[in-house]
Protein backbone atom coordinates (compact mmCIF):
# COMPACT_ATOMS: atom_id res chain seq x y z
CA UNK A 1 0.00 0.00 0.00
CA UNK A 2 2.82 2.29 1.00
CA UNK A 3 4.52 1.59 -2.30
CA UNK A 4 1.35 2.38 -4.22
CA UNK A 5 1.03 5.68 -2.36
CA UNK A 6 4.64 6.57 -3.06
CA UNK A 7 4.11 5.81 -6.71
CA UNK A 8 0.96 7.91 -6.79
CA UNK A 9 2.81 10.76 -5.10
CA UNK A 10 5.68 10.50 -7.59
CA UNK A 11 3.22 10.48 -10.47
CA UNK A 12 1.60 13.59 -9.01
CA UNK A 13 4.96 15.36 -8.86
CA UNK A 14 5.78 14.32 -12.40
CA UNK A 15 2.49 15.63 -13.69
CA UNK A 16 3.13 18.92 -11.85
CA UNK A 17 6.53 19.31 -13.47
CA UNK A 18 5.14 18.52 -16.87
CA UNK A 19 2.22 20.95 -16.50
CA UNK A 20 2.23 23.61 -19.19
CA UNK A 21 2.66 27.22 -18.06
CA UNK A 22 -0.56 29.10 -17.39
CA UNK A 23 0.37 32.02 -19.64
CA UNK A 24 0.11 31.90 -23.38
CA UNK A 25 3.35 31.58 -25.31
CA UNK A 26 2.49 34.90 -26.97
CA UNK A 27 2.60 36.68 -23.62
CA UNK A 28 6.10 35.45 -22.90
CA UNK A 29 7.12 36.63 -26.38
CA UNK A 30 5.65 40.06 -25.66
CA UNK A 31 7.44 40.23 -22.31
CA UNK A 32 10.79 39.22 -23.79
CA UNK A 33 10.46 41.64 -26.70
CA UNK A 34 9.36 44.82 -24.90
CA UNK A 35 9.80 44.49 -21.13
CA UNK A 36 13.05 42.52 -20.95
CA UNK A 37 15.03 45.46 -22.34
CA UNK A 38 15.00 46.90 -18.81
CA UNK A 39 13.44 44.21 -16.61
CA UNK A 40 15.56 41.35 -17.93
CA UNK A 41 14.54 38.13 -19.65
CA UNK A 42 13.67 36.51 -16.31
CA UNK A 43 12.14 39.68 -14.84
CA UNK A 44 14.79 40.37 -12.22
CA UNK A 45 15.23 44.01 -13.25
CA UNK A 46 18.55 43.32 -14.92
CA UNK A 47 18.02 44.01 -18.64
CA UNK A 48 20.85 45.32 -20.84
CA UNK A 49 19.75 48.94 -20.36
CA UNK A 50 20.49 48.77 -16.67
CA UNK A 51 24.05 50.04 -16.47
CA UNK A 52 25.58 51.80 -13.48
CA UNK A 53 24.33 55.10 -14.93
CA UNK A 54 20.73 53.98 -15.23
CA UNK A 55 18.81 56.50 -13.12
CA UNK A 56 16.47 54.00 -11.48
CA UNK A 57 16.27 50.32 -10.63
CA UNK A 58 13.65 48.66 -12.82
CA UNK A 59 11.22 46.58 -10.80
CA UNK A 60 12.39 43.08 -9.94
CA UNK A 61 9.27 41.06 -10.75
CA UNK A 62 10.50 38.07 -8.76
CA UNK A 63 10.34 40.13 -5.54
CA UNK A 64 7.05 38.88 -4.12
CA UNK A 65 7.14 41.30 -1.20
CA UNK A 66 7.28 44.38 -3.41
CA UNK A 67 5.04 42.98 -6.13
CA UNK A 68 2.31 42.00 -3.69
CA UNK A 69 2.01 45.68 -2.69
CA UNK A 70 0.75 46.45 -6.19
CA UNK A 71 -2.77 45.65 -7.32
CA UNK A 72 -3.44 44.28 -10.79
CA UNK A 73 -4.93 47.70 -11.58
CA UNK A 74 -1.62 49.32 -10.55
CA UNK A 75 0.27 47.01 -12.91
CA UNK A 76 -2.14 47.74 -15.72
CA UNK A 77 -1.87 51.49 -15.16
CA UNK A 78 1.90 51.56 -15.13
CA UNK A 79 2.11 49.45 -18.29
CA UNK A 80 -0.43 51.60 -20.12
CA UNK A 81 0.59 55.06 -18.89
CA UNK A 82 4.19 54.68 -17.76
CA UNK A 83 6.01 55.30 -14.50
CA UNK A 84 4.73 58.85 -13.87
CA UNK A 85 1.14 57.53 -13.76
CA UNK A 86 2.02 55.86 -10.44
CA UNK A 87 4.53 58.50 -9.28
CA UNK A 88 7.45 56.47 -10.59
CA UNK A 89 10.21 57.19 -13.07
CA UNK A 90 9.50 58.23 -16.67
CA UNK A 91 12.13 55.65 -17.60
CA UNK A 92 9.18 53.23 -17.53
CA UNK A 93 7.53 54.04 -20.88
CA UNK A 94 3.82 54.37 -21.51
CA UNK A 95 2.99 51.29 -23.60
CA UNK A 96 -0.67 52.13 -24.09
CA UNK A 97 -0.23 53.08 -27.75
CA UNK A 98 1.92 50.03 -28.47
CA UNK A 99 0.26 47.07 -26.79
CA UNK A 100 -3.26 45.76 -27.25
CA UNK A 101 -5.62 45.34 -24.27
CA UNK A 102 -5.19 41.58 -24.58
CA UNK A 103 -1.41 41.89 -24.46
CA UNK A 104 -1.59 44.11 -21.36
CA UNK A 105 -3.98 41.65 -19.66
CA UNK A 106 -1.61 38.85 -20.57
CA UNK A 107 1.34 40.72 -19.09
CA UNK A 108 -0.45 41.40 -15.80
CA UNK A 109 -1.14 37.68 -15.47
CA UNK A 110 2.42 36.84 -16.49
CA UNK A 111 3.87 39.16 -13.83
CA UNK A 112 1.75 37.41 -11.20
CA UNK A 113 3.26 34.13 -12.31
CA UNK A 114 6.78 35.52 -12.18
CA UNK A 115 6.33 36.93 -8.66
CA UNK A 116 4.20 33.98 -7.57
CA UNK A 117 2.11 36.47 -5.65
CA UNK A 118 -1.28 38.14 -5.56
CA UNK A 119 -2.01 41.83 -5.81
CA UNK A 120 -2.30 43.74 -2.52
Amino acid sequence: MKKVLTLAFAAGLASQTAAPPVHAAETETVFRFYCAQCHGLTGKGDGPNVTKDFPVSPRNFTDATEMSKLTDADLRNVILDGGPAVSKSPMMPPWGKTLSDEEVDGLVGYLREVCACQGG
Binding site: T29, C38, P48, P94
Partner: protein
Protein backbone atom coordinates in the same frame (compact mmCIF):
# COMPACT_ATOMS: atom_id res chain seq x y z
CA UNK B 1 14.39 77.71 -83.96
CA UNK B 2 16.84 78.75 -81.30
CA UNK B 3 14.26 77.83 -78.68
CA UNK B 4 13.76 74.37 -80.14
CA UNK B 5 17.52 73.83 -80.33
CA UNK B 6 18.09 74.84 -76.74
CA UNK B 7 15.21 72.63 -75.61
CA UNK B 8 16.69 69.72 -77.54
CA UNK B 9 20.10 70.33 -75.97
CA UNK B 10 18.56 70.52 -72.49
CA UNK B 11 16.67 67.29 -73.07
CA UNK B 12 19.83 65.56 -74.26
CA UNK B 13 21.60 66.70 -71.10
CA UNK B 14 18.77 65.57 -68.91
CA UNK B 15 18.73 62.17 -70.59
CA UNK B 16 22.50 61.83 -70.22
CA UNK B 17 22.33 62.77 -66.55
CA UNK B 18 19.49 60.42 -65.76
CA UNK B 19 21.20 57.56 -67.64
CA UNK B 20 24.36 58.14 -65.63
CA UNK B 21 22.30 58.10 -62.45
CA UNK B 22 20.62 54.85 -63.43
CA UNK B 23 23.98 53.29 -64.28
CA UNK B 24 25.35 54.21 -60.83
CA UNK B 25 22.28 52.81 -59.15
CA UNK B 26 22.50 49.59 -61.13
CA UNK B 27 26.19 49.22 -60.25
CA UNK B 28 25.39 49.88 -56.60
CA UNK B 29 22.58 47.36 -56.60
CA UNK B 30 24.85 44.79 -58.24
CA UNK B 31 27.53 45.46 -55.62
CA UNK B 32 24.89 45.19 -52.86
CA UNK B 33 23.92 41.77 -54.16
CA UNK B 34 27.48 40.63 -54.90
CA UNK B 35 28.50 41.46 -51.33
CA UNK B 36 25.54 39.43 -50.05
CA UNK B 37 24.08 42.39 -48.18
CA UNK B 38 20.68 40.95 -49.10
CA UNK B 39 21.20 38.04 -46.73
CA UNK B 40 20.53 40.39 -43.78
CA UNK B 41 18.84 43.48 -45.28
CA UNK B 42 15.71 43.65 -47.38
CA UNK B 43 15.36 46.58 -49.77
CA UNK B 44 11.84 46.45 -51.11
CA UNK B 45 9.06 48.14 -49.21
CA UNK B 46 6.56 48.35 -47.79
CA UNK B 47 7.38 46.96 -44.34
CA UNK B 48 6.89 43.20 -44.16
CA UNK B 49 6.84 42.64 -40.41
CA UNK B 50 3.46 41.83 -38.94
CA UNK B 51 4.39 39.98 -35.75
CA UNK B 52 7.16 39.97 -33.15
CA UNK B 53 8.34 36.70 -34.69
CA UNK B 54 8.68 38.43 -38.08
CA UNK B 55 10.85 41.12 -36.51
CA UNK B 56 12.96 38.62 -34.58
CA UNK B 57 13.51 36.50 -37.68
CA UNK B 58 15.53 39.33 -39.26
CA UNK B 59 19.30 39.41 -38.89
CA UNK B 60 19.74 43.05 -39.84
CA UNK B 61 17.73 46.24 -40.22
CA UNK B 62 15.49 46.75 -43.25
CA UNK B 63 16.95 49.17 -45.79
CA UNK B 64 13.99 49.85 -48.05
CA UNK B 65 13.87 53.44 -46.78
CA UNK B 66 17.63 53.88 -46.42
CA UNK B 67 17.55 56.96 -48.63
CA UNK B 68 15.13 58.62 -46.23
CA UNK B 69 17.01 57.60 -43.13
CA UNK B 70 20.70 58.11 -43.76
CA UNK B 71 22.97 60.96 -44.68
CA UNK B 72 25.06 59.92 -47.67
CA UNK B 73 28.14 61.71 -46.30
CA UNK B 74 27.99 59.38 -43.32
CA UNK B 75 26.98 56.27 -45.25
CA UNK B 76 29.93 56.05 -47.66
CA UNK B 77 32.72 55.99 -45.05
CA UNK B 78 30.63 53.78 -42.75
CA UNK B 79 30.18 51.12 -45.44
CA UNK B 80 33.96 51.11 -46.01
CA UNK B 81 34.73 50.97 -42.29
CA UNK B 82 31.62 49.93 -40.36
CA UNK B 83 31.61 50.66 -36.65
CA UNK B 84 28.91 49.29 -34.35
CA UNK B 85 25.76 51.42 -34.17
CA UNK B 86 24.00 49.18 -31.69
CA UNK B 87 25.70 48.25 -28.41
CA UNK B 88 23.90 44.89 -28.56
CA UNK B 89 23.78 42.43 -31.43
CA UNK B 90 20.75 43.02 -33.67
CA UNK B 91 17.63 41.57 -32.01
CA UNK B 92 19.55 40.33 -28.96
CA UNK B 93 19.35 41.43 -25.34
CA UNK B 94 22.16 39.18 -24.20
CA UNK B 95 24.89 39.28 -26.85
CA UNK B 96 27.08 42.32 -27.37
CA UNK B 97 27.52 43.66 -30.89
CA UNK B 98 30.79 42.08 -31.93
CA UNK B 99 31.36 44.69 -34.62
CA UNK B 100 31.58 42.10 -37.38
CA UNK B 101 29.57 43.93 -40.06
CA UNK B 102 31.35 43.27 -43.39
CA UNK B 103 33.30 46.19 -44.86
CA UNK B 104 33.07 47.18 -48.51
CA UNK B 105 35.91 48.35 -50.72
CA UNK B 106 36.01 52.08 -51.44
CA UNK B 107 34.38 51.80 -54.90
CA UNK B 108 31.63 49.48 -53.70
CA UNK B 109 31.01 51.68 -50.65
CA UNK B 110 30.40 54.65 -52.94
CA UNK B 111 28.18 52.83 -55.40
CA UNK B 112 26.21 50.93 -52.73
CA UNK B 113 25.60 54.23 -50.93
CA UNK B 114 24.40 55.73 -54.24
CA UNK B 115 22.01 52.82 -54.59
CA UNK B 116 20.79 52.90 -50.99
CA UNK B 117 20.09 56.62 -51.22
CA UNK B 118 17.60 55.89 -54.02
CA UNK B 119 15.53 53.69 -51.68
CA UNK B 120 12.82 55.90 -50.27
CA UNK B 121 9.36 55.48 -48.81
CA UNK B 122 7.70 58.59 -50.17
CA UNK B 123 6.52 59.21 -46.60
CA UNK B 124 9.18 61.71 -45.52
CA UNK B 125 8.70 65.41 -46.03
CA UNK B 126 12.01 67.14 -46.72
CA UNK B 127 13.16 70.29 -45.00
CA UNK B 128 10.70 70.22 -42.10
CA UNK B 129 13.14 69.80 -39.21
CA UNK B 130 15.81 72.36 -38.40
CA UNK B 131 18.45 70.85 -36.16
CA UNK B 132 19.53 72.88 -33.16
CA UNK B 133 20.23 72.70 -29.43
CA UNK B 134 16.56 72.26 -28.84
CA UNK B 135 15.85 72.74 -25.11
CA UNK B 136 12.32 71.36 -25.39
CA UNK B 137 13.58 68.35 -27.33
CA UNK B 138 16.29 67.79 -24.74
CA UNK B 139 13.78 67.91 -21.91
CA UNK B 140 11.59 65.33 -23.62
CA UNK B 141 14.49 63.08 -24.60
CA UNK B 142 16.25 63.08 -21.25
CA UNK B 143 13.44 63.63 -18.73
CA UNK B 144 9.84 63.54 -19.84
CA UNK B 145 10.03 60.44 -22.02
CA UNK B 146 12.19 57.33 -21.64
CA UNK B 147 14.26 57.78 -24.85
CA UNK B 148 17.54 57.76 -22.94
CA UNK B 149 16.58 54.51 -21.27
CA UNK B 150 17.36 52.58 -24.47
CA UNK B 151 19.52 54.94 -26.58
CA UNK B 152 23.06 56.06 -25.84
CA UNK B 153 23.96 59.71 -26.37
CA UNK B 154 26.74 62.05 -25.38
CA UNK B 155 26.47 63.92 -22.09
CA UNK B 156 27.58 67.51 -21.60
CA UNK B 157 31.04 66.44 -20.48
CA UNK B 158 31.45 64.19 -23.50
CA UNK B 159 30.61 61.06 -21.54
CA UNK B 160 28.41 58.30 -22.93
CA UNK B 161 25.01 58.16 -21.26
CA UNK B 162 21.86 56.16 -21.90
CA UNK B 163 20.72 52.58 -22.32
CA UNK B 164 21.94 49.82 -24.58
CA UNK B 165 19.00 47.98 -26.13
CA UNK B 166 18.37 50.42 -28.96
CA UNK B 167 20.68 51.84 -31.61
CA UNK B 168 23.13 54.36 -30.18
CA UNK B 169 22.28 57.97 -30.94
CA UNK B 170 25.75 59.28 -30.11
CA UNK B 171 26.60 61.57 -33.05
CA UNK B 172 23.31 60.50 -34.68
CA UNK B 173 23.13 63.86 -36.44
CA UNK B 174 25.89 62.65 -38.73
CA UNK B 175 24.03 59.45 -39.55
CA UNK B 176 20.34 60.30 -39.60
CA UNK B 177 18.21 62.64 -41.66
CA UNK B 178 16.26 64.72 -39.09
CA UNK B 179 13.20 64.77 -41.37
CA UNK B 180 13.23 60.96 -41.24
CA UNK B 181 13.50 60.98 -37.42
CA UNK B 182 10.31 63.04 -37.33
CA UNK B 183 8.55 60.81 -39.86
CA UNK B 184 9.62 57.71 -37.91
CA UNK B 185 8.13 59.12 -34.71
CA UNK B 186 4.94 60.23 -36.44
CA UNK B 187 4.34 57.15 -38.58
CA UNK B 188 6.02 54.19 -36.91
CA UNK B 189 3.67 51.76 -38.65
CA UNK B 190 5.05 52.82 -42.03
CA UNK B 191 8.69 52.17 -41.18
CA UNK B 192 8.67 49.62 -38.35
CA UNK B 193 5.24 48.24 -37.57
CA UNK B 194 6.75 45.91 -34.94
CA UNK B 195 9.57 47.32 -32.88
CA UNK B 196 10.93 47.30 -29.34
CA UNK B 197 10.45 51.07 -29.09
CA UNK B 198 7.13 52.34 -27.76
CA UNK B 199 4.73 54.16 -30.06
CA UNK B 200 4.60 57.85 -29.11
CA UNK B 201 1.79 58.83 -31.46
CA UNK B 202 -0.95 60.31 -29.30
CA UNK B 203 1.50 60.80 -26.40
CA UNK B 204 3.71 63.47 -27.95
CA UNK B 205 2.32 66.22 -30.16
CA UNK B 206 3.66 66.58 -33.71
CA UNK B 207 5.40 69.72 -32.51
CA UNK B 208 7.16 67.91 -29.69
CA UNK B 209 8.16 65.09 -32.02
CA UNK B 210 9.72 67.77 -34.24
CA UNK B 211 11.53 69.13 -31.16
CA UNK B 212 12.94 65.67 -30.42
CA UNK B 213 13.99 65.22 -34.07
CA UNK B 214 15.64 68.64 -33.99
CA UNK B 215 17.50 67.78 -30.77
CA UNK B 216 18.65 64.30 -31.88
CA UNK B 217 19.54 65.59 -35.33
CA UNK B 218 21.93 67.99 -33.61
CA UNK B 219 23.92 65.14 -31.97
CA UNK B 220 27.34 65.74 -33.49
CA UNK B 221 30.93 65.50 -32.26
CA UNK B 222 32.10 68.56 -30.36
CA UNK B 223 34.37 70.68 -32.48
Amino acid sequence: MKGILSTAISLTWLFALSSAGQADTAAGQAAFEANDCVSCHYTEGPAREKTIEDQLAKTGPELWYAGDKFNQDWLVPWLADPQPIRPMKFNSLTEENSGDHPALGADDATSVADYLMTLTSGAVESGTVKVKKNAKGRQIFTKKMPCSGCHQYRGRKGETLGGRSGPSLTDAGLRLNPDWILAYLKQPETFKPVKMMPVFVGLLSDKDMANVASYVGNFKPKK
